[in-house]
Symmetry: C2
Subunit: 320 residues, 2 copies
């Protein structure tokens, strides 16, 4: 039974001290490893682990080819400034190969999870000799897994899978009592720069979750560019999360006065406290119009742009 620590009840400095001690006590003089994705949760866990274990902790960033533009470089640069060395592992081809031909969202997630854990990260962990894995699981992940809403690759324990047996290491989840707001407050107290601990959520399957249908290198490039335009345009709107989704459906458009089939980008921008429920952000219409024009002019192949106007529930935050 996990006891929630709400933002109101959270004393970040006390929480950090306790978790640093717990991690130290668990790991002893063993080697620990963690995968940093650049998201809030894994960034906070990296800092906690670094405080607890210093050089006993090995932090890797797996470049799966599904991340934002320049993500590996900017994340490792930020952590370098904080004294944390991040190893970037290039595994783009392994992920693309695993995703080839897959259109079902569930199989897509499984291909990414399988490639990440069993193939890439599993190999690194086995070769490293690390026995302890630090993970950024938060309470919402567990809620949603239990409810069957979302498969979480990072909650084996809660799903009744023995991580010791499955992957040969012990999982430490210091953030499991917090929700996103608590994680952010902890990140702030850990000295993470604003841009890092206050980042909008990014899904585990990353841009693969923003592509409806098969994931290809070309579609990744398209949705990556659209994501960059959307994030730049909406970062100062105070929204909880915002994204570009590349649809598989083709829609009619005109290129040089001729009828042509093109691709559609759906923009979602959410107001939410903890992702459990969410409503579309009331963005000024001229902001939406400018954003649509920017996407069409900057992202090749896009002839149509929509804005999500449904709430969660019954929608979900991500489309895939």
């Amino acid at each position: 039974m996990i006891i929630e620590i709400t933002l109101q009840d959270l004393n970040p400095q006390k929480f950090i001290a306790e978790k640093v001690n717990e991690i130290k006590a668990s790991a002893g003089d063993g080697v620990a490893i963690n995968a940093l994705s650049g998201g809030v949760d894994s960034s906070v866990v990296t800092m906690l682990g670094h405080r607890a274990l210093g050089k006993q902790l090995r932090t890797v960033f797996i470049q799966n080819g599904l991340m934002r533009q320049g993500e590996a470089e900017s994340v490792s640069a930020i952590f370098a400034k904080l004294g944390v060395n991040v190893e970037v592992i290039d595994a783009q081809n392994e992920f693309l190969y695993a995703l080839k031909g897959i259109t079902d969202p569930e199989e897509k997630r499984e291909a990414i999870t399988g490639t990440f854990y069993k193939k890439v990260f599993g190999r690194i962990v086995r070769e490293s000799g690390a026995r302890f894995l630090l993970q950024g699981t938060i309470l919402t992940d567990i809620d949603e897994t239990v409810a069957g809403i979302k498969r979480q690759h990072n909650v084996f324990a809660q799903l009744g899978i023995d991580p010791q047996e499955a992957f040969g290491y012990q999982i430490l989840e210091p953030l499991v009592q917090l929700r996103k707001d608590g994680v952010r407050a902890t990140g702030r107290a850990l000295g993470l720069p604003e841009e890092m601990f206050n980042r909008i959520p990014f899904p585990g399957p990353a841009l693969a979750a923003r592509i409806i249908g098969e994931v290809t290198a070309e579609k990744l490039e398209t949705v990556r560019k659209a994501t960059s335009v959307v994030e730049k345009a909406l970062c100062n709107r105070g929204a909880f999360q915002y994204m570009a989704i590349l649809h598989q459906d083709r829609v009619t458009g005109m290129t040089n006065g001729k009828r042509d089939f093109g691709q559609q980008i759906e923009i979602r921008c959410w107001d939410s406290i903890d992702a459990r429920t969410a409503t579309p952000t009331n963005l000024p219409f001229e902001v939406l119009g400018r954003l649509a024009n920017d996407i069409i002019s900057e992202v090749p192949g896009i002839v149509s742009v929509t804005y999500n106007i449904a709430t969660k529930p019954p929608s979900t935050i991500e489309a895939v």
Copy 2:
């Protein structure tokens, strides 16, 4: 060479008198036939033909199963009040059969056009002995066909196909010098009721153009319901055209707290003068939110709703 009559230059009563005379002169004492779809163009042509030919004109409404809810009934009721008898021909199964398995938009249009002309309407025309076909082609149809933007089933002559040879009758197109605004003014002058001559445009392939992917009876029912909700909600906003589009892409949603894949409706609402260019209507955000909620609660299977924010060009008004 067709000489455009702009709204400014149009004298509706003079135009009507001229066209009535031209139709009389062309048809002589022959039988004419026209297919009334319920749209503005075919409604105006029906009235012009009725004035010119009276009982020499036979007007049929082909129920293709792709129209709005209750369309055949309401259209024939309106014309009955104006003294025009409309024959409703039930051909729903023929159209559904022709559309089976087709996902390509162009093939979809061809299946509908072929079924309409060669099968259903062709049969009626051949059996009727009519030699003259009245059609509501307008100037924009011809522009777009020439530009290759849209295949128009009603512009055989402009495409170099001899309609005499192709279908055994002569096509009369009294509205070919007008654009949509001129057609509306003519409809007003002909005494058509407001709800009829001032209707928003509806595409030739009807609801089949509002379904991305294969057209089935079930999807038609879904998009018909969504269309009804959208038209009811947006009819007083002064927009040029508004529609619901059923996507083929499945998106994640939640039903009873469980993850589930659902369907998405895209709403498009356009400001435009003549459909050549168009911009999305700046609808209040609460109107969009209410509309999304209404669609989700009234249309089974829908978990997500978007609003189009791209302009034409490069988008087109319809998606298929």
